[in-house]
Amino acid sequence: MGAKQTRAEKYQDLMDKTGFSPEQIKNLHTRFQQLSDNEETISREDLEKIPALANNPIRKQIIEAFFDKRNQHQNEVGAFQEIGFEQFLMVMSHFRPPTLKTTEEEKEAMRKEKLRFLFNMHDTDNDGTITLEEYRKVVEELLKKSGAIGLEAAKAIADAAMLEVASTNVPHMAPEDFYEGITFEHFEQILKGLEMESRMHIRFLDVDTTTMRCGKSKS
């Protein structure tokens, strides 16, 4: 089945699953080859080698997101050790922007999908909620470049943020109740104002950009 499939068919399959155009898939495939040293799969190390990512405070989370099974939309949990092009593309498809033709329902679905992606990034232990510890970690990572101030402030900020989520979503809690963690519904609720479908996207190039890339991705 796999061996005889022509490239076009493979691309068609991917197009349906991820919604990219053929040119975009081709470009991403080229990139994938670059990252994987022309092998079939890429591992975490391959991604870690990208020099531009070194300055990114949430580098680990981003890389981890590629290997997270939850982002493949197949109702699995856990993590891959290596991913193939299809999985790579699947993760990338979370960052597609809406078009003029996207209907309201599709926009809603898109938003949910993107928020789910973010949620999965925060919820590292796969239990379906973002606990205070996990949230603290998120803020700490964001502020880790700022040294000691950052760590102290991170705790406070995470606490305040958690409190905000709790009070917006579950306004009436008795003093003894314990707010377990941010569920996906609560997460959606508090980020309603950000309009994810219009913000969380990058530009995927339609044209062949091998000549436009300045600098290599690795080494």
Binding site: R31, I50, A52, L53, N55, N56, P57, I58, R59, I62, P98, T99, L100, L118, M121, T131, L132, E133, V138, V139, L142, L143, S146, I149, G150, E152, A153, A156, I157, D159, A160, A161, L163, E164, A166, S167, T168, V170, P171, H172, M173, A174, P175, D177, F178, Y179, I190, L191, G193, L194, S198, R199, M200, H201, I202, R203, F204, L205, M212, C214
Partner: protein
């Protein structure tokens, strides 16, 4: 907004009396304003002559007859100009007041229209009295005095993020759109004037170049008019920034086209070389303006770094540097508007990090005040100038102009959007295009530019002016009045009155990094990548230069958090203390609910402490929760005339009463567990200074606050303050700290200059500070507490 609804209640008459008084006052000023200048204007020469005569007579009087000493003399000339100016400003301000007293009017008719009508009335009155209308919309006055405050206000508070994200679109509309408009209108008008009807009129003598010149004057969207109208309709941020940004950036195009055509209108031809020079000139004008503005902005930022000891003149630097930027740009015929915008936008993040909170408020107040008055004056003057101006009405010309303006705008917007949408990710819908097209209002800039034309070179100047005024009237009245119902009708997305919550801020930052990372993985350098690079450059080099002290290292998230906390504290104080907090989402959630259940010594400690009665606990929890969940903040909204309320507006005595209540409550609060922890900043952190609202000249001085103004010392970051409740410490030195803490119940102590030497060795102990109490206490001057002993020994 109606101040009262007194007319409906039985006590209505009594309530409306002040209103009537105000109206009467306005009418009087009105009349005085129109009559008095007339009296003076009509006879400047005569009075001058009279003065001379008087002097002569006085001289002679010494020798011949001695006149009795004048007890009361009238000398108007000396004060004439300032007097008239003040009268105009007063009139404008009273008008503004007056409109809001009439409840229904301000919601139907935009203010700009009303002001023009007032101007018409005043002009009419003056004319009726047979006097000469003062040339109020003199171009120098307009461009040098009336326009800069408005533009500075807009530039300083420009929302940078949406502006930068849509810069490409804005530039397309501003440059290409304006060019298209100018040439289309100019060209078609020329075509119309060349039509030889049966009876040739003066129209046919108009050349091509004056037509193009006219086209370029009339084509530019006016920032003043756009601001005035758009701020009342509250559309979403994207559309607002598109139209407004366009109105700002098209200044460069207008300047170049105007000068180009004006220069060569006499000669009669424009060659290709001139065209190319024009393009180069455009680049020079635009980029030069931005450069000049940026230079002055950096200078201002740099200066503000050193103003820590002279806080009172901080706002002055902002204003003067900006005005200098504008004037400097005008010297070289560069775009003054772009210089001003660039100056304000560049200096703002650094200046705000350096100046005191009071200076920040001052700058905000002054900018909004000046821009408000300017705007009002401009519209009134437009009305007056309409009545005054020599008009030459020509049906064909004027109607064709009006129609062409509309048509050109629509075609331009639609065409450009078609092209732009290919490059935009979030596309512009038809509704958006309609609003953009409809929002292309013309205003006073066009009129002033027309006014500047030399009568000799342009014999049809009067006709031009008439046409310009007609277009302005049409856009402001018709489009201005109907845009609001149209926005409702089309269900255009309105501006979200959203509070900026800490979660959103966290995720905005997170998203930025995420998208940058994904772009890096994809391998192409998209705009996230460049934005990230710019941010890093900014953080590494620029901030260190331009921001004083420790604040240069403060990451944005922490700055945001501190700002939010402070706002919450201020709001809490304003709302009157603990008992009745009008929270948006009444919630019983407090920190206790979200802390993971752990068996710390704190729990044991809690049991060791005397249990509070349930009622007290509830009160205390209410305070905690309300303080922490106060996320309803006023977004920096596009209504330029609202400001965050001043905490000092509350009565002082009320604060004292609140203070008493607070003192009691806080004593109990300390005994509770689970407070919000607040960062322990390094010693003498400017974050602490920033949070202080102490009187300016003494920002860092040793003296604690002893003035009569209640001050809020929201000392979020100071690790060691007299009343810090360090729960763990409390049990280390069990009894020792307690009595001290009890003594100095009031939280809000100014941890003043002495903090410096003390902090270093105390900073280590201060890990888990219970700063919440700090945020809650009210700003009383520590009258009954030990004023001069800020710290625990």
């Amino acid at each position: 907004m109606p101040l009262r609804t007194g007319s409906h209640s039985p006590a209505g008459f009594g309530k409306s009396l002040p209103e009537r008084g105000l109206l009467l006052l306005m009418v009087l000023v009105f009349l005085e304003g129109s009559v008095l200048p007339l009296g003076a204007a009509s006879s400047p020469d005569i009075s001058h002559q009279a003065n001379l005569d008087d002097h002569k007579a006085a001289h002679e009087g010494h020798n011949s007859t001695k006149k009795p000493f004048p007890v009361l003399a009238l000398e108007y000339d000396r004060v004439q100009i300032p007097f008239e100016i003040s009268l105009w400003v007063l009139l404008a301000s009273l008008m503004k007041l007056g409109f809001h007293l009439i409840p229904r009017l301000s919601s139907i008719v935009p203010e700009s229209c009303l002001l023009i009508v007032v101007g018409l009335l005043v002009g009419g009155l003056i004319k009726l009295a047979g006097e000469e209308v003062p040339p109020v919309l003199d171009s120098r006055l307009f461009f040098l005095c009336l326009l800069p405050p408005i533009i500075l206000d807009a530039g300083y508070f420009l929302p940078i993020r949406p502006f930068m994200e849509n810069l490409g679109t804005i530039l397309m509309f501003a440059v290409v759109g304006t060019l298209w408009n100018a040439f289309f209108i100019g060209g078609v008008l020329y075509g119309v004037t060349q039509i030889q009807p049966a009876n040739p009129s003066s129209l046919n003598q108009i050349e091509l170049l004056p037509c193009l010149l006219f086209g370029s004057i009339i084509s530019a969207v006016d920032p003043v008019a756009v601001l005035a109208v758009f701020e009342e309709i509250h559309i979403n941020e994207l559309l607002h920034i598109l139209v407004f940004g366009e109105s700002l950036l098209n200044d460069a195009v207008t300047v170049v086209l105007y000068h180009l055509f004006e220069e060569y209108a006499g000669v009669g031809t424009v060659t290709l070389l001139d065209g190319i020079l024009g393009v180069i000139s455009f680049l020079v004008v635009a980029l030069g303006g931005v450069l000049v503005g940026a230079i002055y902005g950096i200078l201002a930022a740099f200066t503000s770094r050193f103003t820590s000891h002279t806080r009172v003149i901080e706002p002055l630097f902002v204003f003067v540097y900006s005005y200098m930027a504008y004037l400097s740009a005008e010297i070289f015929h560069l775009s003054g508007i772009m210089a001003l915008i660039a100056c304000g936008a560049v200096m703002r993040p650094y200046v705000e990090a350096n100046i005191s909170h009071k200076s920040h408020t001052t700058i905000k107040y002054f900018l909004k005040m000046w821009s408000s008055v300017s705007e009002t004056l401009i519209f009134i003057f437009l009305g007056v100038a309409t009545v005054d101006g020599p008009h030459a009405w020509n049906w064909t010309f004027v109607t064709v102009t009006v129609i062409l303006c509309l048509v050109a705008r629509v075609i331009g917007v639609v065409g450009l959007t078609f092209v732009i949408n290919k490059f935009r990710i979030v596309k512009l819908t038809t509704k958006d295009q309609f609003i953009i097209a409809y929002g292309g209002l013309r205003g006073a800039i066009a009129f002033s530019l027309g006014f500047l034309l030399n009568e000799d070179h342009f014999p049809m100047r009067k006709m031009f002016l008439t046409a310009i005024i007609t277009v302005i009237f049409f856009t402001v009245f018709v489009q201005g009045m109907t845009i609001k119902p149209l926005v409702e009708l089309l269900a255009v997305k309105k501006k979200q009155e959203a509070k900026r919550s800490i979660n959103e801020e966290i995720h905005t930052q997170f998203l930025d990094h995420l998208l940058t990372g994904i772009e890096d993985i994809c391998g192409h350098y998209g705009h996230h990548h460049w934005k990230d690079k710019l941010n890093r450059f900014n953080k590494k080099y620029v901030k260190k230069c331009l921001i004083a002290g420790e604040r240069s290292k403060e990451p944005q998230l922490i700055a945001f958090y501190h700002k939010m906390e402070m706002k919450q504290a201020i709001e809490l104080v304003e709302s009157g203390g603990g008992s009745k907090l009008p929270s948006a989402v009444p919630s019983t959630v407090s920190m206790q609910n979200i802390q993971p259940k752990k068996p710390p010594p704190a729990k044991a400690a809690e049991r060791a402490l005397p249990q509070l009665p349930k009622g007290r606990e509830e009160e205390i929890r209410k305070i905690l929760r309300s303080n922490l969940q106060r996320t309803r903040q006023r977004l920096r909204s596009y209504n330029r005339h609202t400001l965050v309320a001043d905490p000092y507006e509350d009565g002082f005595s009320e604060l004292l009463i609140k203070k008493q209540k607070m003192v009691e409550l806080e004593k109990k609060i300390k005994e509770m567990s689970n407070y919000l922890t607040v960062p322990a900043a390094p010693p003498d952190s400017p974050t602490m200074r920033r949070a202080r609202l102490a009187s300016d000249p003494q920002a860092y001085s040793v003296k604690p606050v002893s003035d009569s103004v209640p001050t809020i010392q929201v000392d979020l970051a100071s690790p060691q303050s007299p009343d810090s409740v360090n729960l763990l410490d409390e049990f280390k030195h069990a009894g020792q700290q307690q009595p001290q803490v009890e003594d100095q119940g009031l939280m809000m102590k100014p941890p003043s200059g002495q903090s410096g030497p003390n902090k270093p060795h105390e900073a280590d102990q201060a890990r888990d500070q219970q700063k919440l109490t700090r945020c809650l206490s009210d700003p009383g001057p520590s009258a009954d507490e030990d004023e001069d002993e800020p710290f625990l020994p």
